[in-house]
């Protein structure tokens, strides 16, 4: 049997897995019905994934082949396992899902980061903590506590920014239609990041996006719901 390994960002507790990008990949693997062994990986363990030619996770090793970048992994899985359930629903699905991917990367996840990032250092192993704080404070240009100080206001704007998702969920149960596709995995990854790393609640109970997130938590035998939370 081929060994399939996913390098998956972990906290000080190796069972705590909170990377939004790794969650996209874990759901994509589950969608394809592919078993995987996840290896806990820390931000500072660049050497452990140097074989992939870069320093970030997810990195999937599948039968000796290494693939990195969550979208590249999804495209690789789609091409390599065409007889398994599709992640995109055809070539037009791949093209349009790139837009969902870009929306998650440039709108949704940056906003989530501004609400939860100050909770993350406490979850990390000591070596990672210094790396994380220094690199993120450089990115934001301020202390992490200052980034999330405005999180109530950020949440108002965040909820407004989800309006396109809300409109779609008025017409169908998932972004992928009647069942989830990779577009759902993408957006769910950000919500799962927040759920695993922070107690701050992103959504109102009566938001249709909340209902969708519940359905996503239950999908794939409750893979998301079973996740360890901080």
């Amino acid at each position: 049997m081929i060994r399939r390994i996913l390098y998956d960002l972990a906290g000080a507790d190796p069972a705590l897995r909170f990377s939004p990008f790794c969650w996209r990949t874990r759901l994509a693997l589950a969608h394809k019905g592919l078993d995987v062994e996840t290896v806990p990986w820390r931000f500072t363990e660049k050497d452990a994934i140097a074989f992939s030619g870069q320093g970030r996770v997810p990195v999937l090793v599948d039968g000796g082949r290494a693939v990195h970048d969550s979208l590249a992994i999804a495209l690789y899985l789609e091409e390599s396992y065409p007889d398994r359930p599709s992640l995109f629903g055809g070539p037009g699905g791949i093209a349009a899902t790139r837009f969902v991917n870009a929306f998650a990367d440039t709108v949704v996840q940056p906003a989530i980061g501004r609400m939860i990032v100050s909770h993350i250092p406490d979850l990390l192993a000591a070596a990672d903590r210094a790396y994380f704080v220094a690199s993120r404070e450089a990115r934001y240009g301020k202390p992490l506590a200052a980034v999330t100080a405005d999180r109530e206001a950020t949440r108002v704007a965040f909820r407004a920014s989800l309006e396109p998702l809300r409109v779609v969920l008025g017409a169908q149960r998932f972004l992928g239609g009647a069942a989830p596709l990779y577009a759902d995995h993408i957006l769910f990854g950000g919500f799962q990041w927040a759920r695993c790393a922070s107690p701050f609640e992103l959504l109102a109970d009566d938001d249709p996006v909340h209902g969708w997130r519940e359905r996503m938590l239950d999908a794939y035998d409750g893979l998301g719901r079973k996740a360890v939370r901080a």
Copy 2:
């Protein structure tokens, strides 16, 4: 030969066609290679399209069947003309394109409206002008000149909101991939609305979105570029 008619929003000049939703449909028909006779229609001509059961355009009459709502029309064309070039590239494309549609409807076009709406009354036939000003001022809660007074600031935010599109256009020439699909028609509709109705330039020359808009203007034998402008 079956007569195919599109009721298409027009200005006082019947050749001036500026509805973003009607542009989506015109491009979709061109993509399918389907001839259509466009009928100029004014906001106040509700009686002329009452047969469709509602009062807005686009309304497509295809072989005696009436279909309204731009997305419903695109889905109708995809189902009715499966042997013509696909608008969605498969079922996953339909699902994910709904997200692009919702993004255009809730993010892109509302922002474009706040930059150009005060230019529209001057383009309209007299009867339409009073209707348009009253209904839009009620919607915005202020005079139309006040809506667009902040258009320079709106444009800054608008350009930032296009970042997901910009990211996708870094990977492929169109939202649909190597060639346009309905996702491109959707977003182009908003830009064409602005181009036909207003001299206000939405994009910087060096924006990848500008390059995409140029390609869309040239697509389908220059259908968009040939359009009459105010």
